[in-house]
C-alpha cells in the first residue's frame, strides 16, 4: 500500500490470571496436566452447582487496572454470555458486560521513532473455556478437556489508538512487561496465558470517519500479530484500490501460509443474550481495599528503567533491555548488590546470559545460574584469579550446571597462571620453539610479541595471565 491510507488498530488481550485456583471453584489452574483431572461439579457445569468468586482474581484484576491508570468501578457485576459450544460446560460464559471492573486507562508506548499513548477502554473479568482436541485417533469425533475451564481471565481492550503493526507489537510488549511486573499473569503465549485479537481498518489519509474493520484471530506470537496486521492492511488496501469495499468480518490468521482467511459462512450470527448473573452478587470496591491493593504494586518497567539510568549510570539502551523483563531486572539488581560494577554486570547479563537463555529457550528463573554466582565470578575476574577469557568458560559452566564459580575453577583447573616460575618455563619453551617470531621481534617487528603471547595462551589453554606473559616475554627477549 502507498502512503494514501491511515491505519487504525485496536487490540483485545486475554490474560490468564496466575491464581492457584479457578475463578469460581477451588480446582487447580495448573497447566499441562492429564485431561480432565482438574475438574469438579462446579467447573463441569453439573446441574445444581453455583459459582463463588475467587478474591485473589479480583485483586489481580484491580491491580492491573491501577497499573494501567484505569478508573476502578466502585460498583461492578458479572453477566452471562450465552452461546453453545462443547468447550463451554454451562453453555454460558460468566463475564462482565455493561459494568466492567476497570475503565478509561492508558499506557505510553515507545517504538523506535515515536511515543504514543494507547488508551485502555476497559478491563473486565471472565472465565476461560476448555479445550477441544481434534486430532484424535478417530476422525469421527472431537475430545473435550475441561482442565482450563474456569481459569480466571482479564480482557484488556484498547481504544483504536494504534496506527501501525510496530506500535501494536510495542504496546503488547509493554503490556506483557507490566503484567509480568505485577505478577498477575505469567504471560506465556505458547501456553495460551496471553492471547490477542486485533481489529484493523484503514481509511484514506485525512478522512475523519474510520474505515470498516475486520477482526483478526488466531495469532499465537508477537511475530504472528505483526505479520497478520501487515498482511491485513495490505489486503484491505488492495480491496479499496480495486474500488471495492472491506467487509466487516472475522478473519483467521494462518501462520504457515502467512494469510488471513474469512470466517464468513462458517460462523453463525451471534446473539449472546447478556443478562446479569443471578448466581453472583455485585462487587463494591471501596477506598481502603483499593489502597491495600495499590500498596502491592511494585515499581513498573518505565520507572525502573529511569532509576537504572540514574542510580547505576547505565546507558538508556542497557536500562531498556534489562527492565524489559522483571526477572532479568531483578537478577541484574541482585548481582549489582553483591558486585558494585553495574556496567560490567549489565554487559554480562545482556551478553552471555541472554544469549544462553535464548539458545536454551529458558526463562531466567528456569535457569540454574544465580545472581550470587555471577557476582562471585566477577570478583574472581577482578582479583585476577581468572582471565576474562576463562570467565566465559566458567560462566557457561555455571549456566549449565548451576555450580558456583570457585568449584568450577577448582575442578577444571582454570586458575590463571600468575606464578613467574611456572609461566617462565612455558615462555622459555615458546621462545625456543618459535625462532622465526623471536627473530622478527628482535628485528623490530613489535607485533610479533602478540603471536608469542598467543602461543603461551595456547600452551596454558588460556590460563596464563596475559599481562604478565606480555611483560615477561619482553624482558626475556630484551
Amino acid at each position: 500500500m502507498g502512503a494514501d491510507y491511515e491505519v487504525t488498530i485496536g487490540l483485545e488481550v486475554h490474560a490468564q490470571l496466575d491464581t492457584n485456583t479457578k475463578i469460581f471453584c477451588s480446582c487447580s489452574t495448573e497447566f499441562g496436566a492429564e485431561p480432565n483431572v482438574h475438574t469438579c461439579p462446579v467447573c463441569l457445569g453439573l446441574p445444581g452447582v453455583l459459582p463463588v468468586l475467587n478474591k485473589k482474581a479480583v485483586e489481580y484484576a484491580i491491580k492491573t487496572g491501577l497499573a494501567l491508570n484505569c478508573d476502578i468501578a466502585s460498583f461492578s457485576k458479572f453477566d452471562r454470555k450465552n452461546y453453545f459450544y462443547p468447550d463451554l460446560p454451562k453453555a454460558y460464559q460468566i463475564s462482565q458486560f455493561d459494568l466492567p471492573l476497570c475503565t478509561d486507562g492508558h499506557i505510553n508506548v515507545k517504538t523506535e521513532d515515536e511515543e504514543v499513548r494507547v488508551r485502555i477502554n476497559r478491563i473486565h473479568m471472565e472465565e476461560d473455556a476448555g479445550k477441544l482436541v481434534h486430532d484424535g485417533t478417530t476422525d469421527e469425533g472431537s475430545l473435550v478437556d475441561y482442565n482450563r475451564v474456569g481459569t480466571p481471565l482479564i480482557e484488556i481492550v484498547t481504544e483504536p489508538d494504534i496506527h501501525s503493526p510496530a506500535q501494536a507489537v510495542a504496546y503488547l510488549k509493554e503490556l506483557k512487561s507490566i503484567l509480568e511486573y505485577l505478577e498477575v499473569s505469567d504471560c506465556n503465549m505458547a501456553e495460551g496465558s496471553l492471547r490477542c485479537d486485533a481489529n484493523a481498518s484503514i481509511k484514506p489519509k485525512g478522512q475523519e470517519e474510520l474505515g470498516t474493520k475486520t477482526e483478526l484471530k488466531n495469532m499465537n506470537s508477537f511475530k504472528a500479530i505483526e505479520k497478520a496486521l501487515k498482511y491485513e492492511i495490505k489486503r484491505q488496501a488492495k480491496v479499496l484500490n480495486a474500488g471495492k469495499e472491506v467487509i466487516q468480518e472475522t478473519r483467521m490468521w494462518d501462520d504457515d501460509l502467512g494469510k488471513t482467511f474469512s470466517m464468513r459462512g462458517k460462523e453463525e450470527a451471534h446473539d449472546y443474550r447478556y443478562f446479569p448473573e443471578p448466581d453472583l452478587v455485585p462487587m463494591e470496591v471501596d477506598e481502603s481495599w483499593l489502597e491495600k491493593i495499590e500498596e502491592d504494586i511494585p515499581e513498573l518497567p518505565t520507572d525502573r528503567k529511569a532509576r537504572f539510568i540514574n542510580e547505576f549510570g547505565l546507558p538508556e539502551y542497557d536500562a531498556e533491555v534489562l527492565t524489559d523483563s522483571k526477572d532479568i531486572a531483578d537478577f541484574f539488581e541482585a548481582t549489582v548488590n553483591k558486585h558494585d560494577d553495574p556496567k560490567s554486570v549489565s554487559n554480562w547479563v545482556m551478553g552471555d546470559l541472554m544469549r544462553l537463555l535464548n539458545e536454551e529457550n529458558l526463562e531466567i528463573n528456569e535457569a540454574d545460574i544465580t545472581a550470587d554466582g555471577l557476582a562471585e565470578m566477577l570478583a574472581l575476574m577482578d582479583d585476577g584469579t581468572i582471565s576474562s577469557k576463562i570467565a566465559k568458560t566458567v560462566f557457561e559452566e555455571m549456566f549449565k550446571t548451576g555450580k558456583d564459580p570457585d568449584t568450577i575453577v577448582e575442578e577444571k583447573g582454570l586458575k590463571q597462571i600468575s606464578d613467574e616460575d611456572e609461566l617462565g618455563n612455558v615462555i622459555d619453551g615458546v621462545i625456543e620453539n618459535n625462532p622465526d617470531a623471536v627473530a622478527d621481534y628482535k628485528g623490530g617487528k613489535d607485533q610479533a610479541i602478540g603471536y608469542l603471547v598467543g602461543q603461551v595462551m595456547k600452551e596454558t589453554r588460556g590460563k596464563a595471565d596475559p599481562q604478565l606473559t606480555n611483560q615477561m616475554l619482553r624482558e626475556k627477549l630484551s
Binding site: 461439579p41 457445569g45 453439573l46 446441574p47 453455583l50 453453545f84 460446560p89 443474550r273 443471578p278
Partner: protein, 486 residues
C-alpha cells in the same frame, strides 16, 4: 394409629422413649407406600435399601444411649430436582433420565448429617416448570384427596407424599409458588423461606433469582423443626445470607394478640373462587377473634406480578437449561450428523413442551433488540412490586391471602392452555419476586371436600412471625387433622 400417620415431633418422642425403632418407622412408611403409591404416584425413585441402613444406624445410636436429633430416623422425601450423590436426580425430565450426581445438595447433606432418613425422590413438573405435575416427563402425580385431580405443582410429588402419609416431611422448591400452591391443593403445610435463607447449592436451577427450597409437613411444628435444619449460610452459594438461624420452635406460640395482619385487597379480586375466598375470610375472622388486628391493605402492583414473572423466570431458565446439550451427562440423541445437529436433537427429544416453550420465551426476551422491552422492563417492575411489600411491612407483621385461586383442578383441565395454568400462581408469585417468605396452611374444604389453603406472607427473615400466626391458627382449628382417605 399407624406410625406413618404421625408427625415428626410425635415420632421423635416415640423414638427417644424407646417405644419404636427407626427401622419400624421406615418399614411403616414403605408399607404405606406399597399400599398407596400405585394410586398416588408421588415418587420417581425410592431408596429403601439406603433408608433402612440409615435407620439401623439411628437405632444403634439409640441403643448406645446417645441423644438423637429431632429429625433423626424421620422419613423425608426429596423433590427430584435436588442432587443426591450416587442416586438418580432427574428433574422429572428425559434429558436427565440417567443422571447420578457425584455430590449432594447442601440441604440433602444437612438432613443427612442430622440423621434424617431419605426415603425417595419425588415427582415434579419437568424442571419445576408447572403447577400440576402434568408436565413431568414421566407421569402425573395424583391428588390424594381425589385421584382424578392434580396435586398442584411443581412440587406435587412432595406435597402428595406428605398428604398421603407416604412421607413425614418432604422438601420442595418454590420459584413462583411451587411449594405453597401444592401444599394448599393437598391440604398440608408448605413454606417458602426468605430468598437466600436456604442454600440453593445442588438445587437444579430453574430461575436462579427466584428459586428457594422449603419444607412440606403435616403441621406447623414440623415445619419449624425442618426449617431449623435446612436454613443457614452456605459458602457454596454466593446468594446465601450470613445470618444466625433462630430456633423456630420457639415461635410455636399460641398468641396473635400483638399481630397486625394486612389483607391485601388485590389478592381477593377476579379469578378467586368464591369458596376459597369464603374460607380465607373465615380464617381472617378467626384470627381477629383470637386477638389479631386485621386490616385491608393495598399492594398496587400485584396485577403486574404474573407478566413480570413470566419474563424473568423463562429468561433465567433459558440460560440455566442451556447446559443440557448431551456432552457431559444426561440424554444424547442418536444419529446426529454434526455437533449442532446433536445439540438440537438432544434438546428437542429430551425436553418436554412446557420446558421448550419457556426456553423459547426466555431466549426471545433476552435476545438483541428485545432485552430492554421485556427483560429489563420486567426487572424494573420487579422493583415496584418489591417496594409495595416494603411499604406494607413497615406497618404490618404479616399479610394474609388465599394460596391458590382454586382448589385442586381435574387432570387435563388446564394442560392445553399455558396462560390459564399460569394463573394458578397469581397469589404466590409476588413473594418470589420480592424474595419474601410465605407459608400455606390448611384453612377449610370446598363442597367437593377438597382442601383450601391460606397464605401468610412476611417481610424478609420474618419466618418467626409466620410460624407464630400459622401455629396459633392451627391450634385453634382442626383442618390440619383431616387427612385424605386412600
Amino acid at each position: 394409629m399407624e406410625l406413618y400417620e404421625l408427625t415428626a415431633h410425635e415420632l421423635h418422642e416415640k423414638l427417644t422413649a424407646g417405644e419404636v425403632s427407626a427401622e419400624e418407622v421406615i418399614n411403616s412408611i414403605y408399607q404405606r407406600i406399597e399400599e398407596t403409591e400405585e394410586d398416588v404416584k408421588a415418587y420417581v425413585t425410592l431408596t429403601k435399601e439406603e433408608a433402612l441402613n440409615k435407620a439401623k444406624k439411628v437405632d444403634e445410636r439409640l441403643a448406645d444411649g446417645e441423644d438423637i436429633n429431632p429429625l433423626a430416623g424421620i422419613p423425608v422425601a426429596i423433590k427430584d430436582n435436588m442432587c443426591t450423590e450416587g442416586i438418580k436426580t432427574t428433574c422429572s425430565s428425559n434429558i436427565l433420565h440417567n443422571f447420578k450426581p457425584p455430590y449432594n445438595a447442601t440441604v440433602v447433606q444437612k438432613l443427612n448429617d442430622e440423621d434424617a432418613v431419605m426415603i425417595g425422590k419425588t415427582n415434579l413438573d419437568e424442571f419445576a416448570m408447572g403447577s400440576s405435575t402434568e408436565n413431568s416427563g414421566f407421569f402425573t402425580t395424583k391428588n390424594p384427596w381425589d385421584l382424578e385431580r392434580v396435586p398442584g405443582g411443581s412440587s406435587g410429588g412432595s406435597a402428595a407424599a406428605v398428604a398421603a402419609n407416604e412421607a413425614i416431611i418432604s422438601l420442595g422448591s418454590d420459584t413462583g409458588g411451587s411449594i405453597r400452591q401444592p401444599a394448599a391443593l393437598c391440604g398440608v403445610v408448605g413454606m417458602k423461606p426468605t430468598y437466600g435463607f436456604v442454600s440453593r447449592y445442588g438445587l437444579v436451577a430453574f430461575a436462579s433469582s427466584l428459586d428457594q427450597i422449603g419444607p412440606f409437613s403435616k403441621d406447623v411444628e414440623d415445619c419449624a423443626l425442618a426449617l431449623n435444619y435446612i436454613c443457614g449460610h452456605d459458602p457454596h452459594d454466593s446468594t446465601s445470607v450470613e445470618r444466625e438461624v433462630p430456633d423456630f420452635t420457639e415461635s410455636l406460640v399460641d398468641d396473635v394478640s400483638e399481630m397486625k395482619v394486612g389483607i391485601p385487597k388485590e389478592y381477593f379480586g377476579e379469578g378467586i373462587d368464591a369458596e376459597v375466598k369464603e374460607a380465607v375470610e373465615a380464617a381472617i375472622a378467626k384470627l381477629e377473634e383470637l386477638g389479631a388486628t386485621c386490616e385491608e391493605v393495598s399492594l398496587p402492583h400485584t396485577e403486574y406480578a404474573l407478566p413480570t414473572y413470566y419474563l424473568i423466570a423463562p429468561a433465567e431458565a433459558s440460560s440455566n437449561l442451556a447446559r443440557y446439550d448431551g456432552v457431559r451427562y444426561g440424554y444424547r440423541a442418536e444419529g446426529a450428523n454434526s455437533l449442532i445437529d446433536m445439540f438440537k436433537k438432544t434438546r428437542s427429544e429430551g425436553f418436554g413442551d412446557e420446558v421448550k416453550r419457556r426456553i423459547m420465551l426466555g431466549t426471545y426476551a433476552l435476545s438483541s433488540g428485545y432485552y430492554d422491552a421485556y427483560y429489563l422492563k420486567a426487572q424494573k417492575v420487579r422493583t415496584l412490586i418489591k417496594d409495595d411489600f416494603e411499604k406494607v411491612f413497615e406497618e404490618y407483621d404479616v399479610l394474609i391471602s388465599p394460596t391458590s385461586p382454586t382448589t385442586a383442578f381435574k387432570i387435563g383441565e388446564k394442560s392445553d392452555d399455558p396462560l390459564q395454568m399460569y394463573m394458578s400462581d397469581l397469589c404466590t408469585i409476588p413473594a418470589n419476586l420480592a424474595g419474601i417468605p410465605g407459608i400455606s396452611i390448611p384453612c377449610g374444604f370446598d363442597n367437593d371436600g377438597l382442601p383450601i389453603g391460606l397464605q401468610l406472607l412476611g417481610n424478609h427473615f420474618d419466618e418467626e412471625k409466620l410460624i407464630q400466626v400459622a401455629y396459633t391458627f392451627e391450634q385453634n382449628t382442626d383442618f390440619h387433622k383431616e387427612s385424605a382417605e386412600l
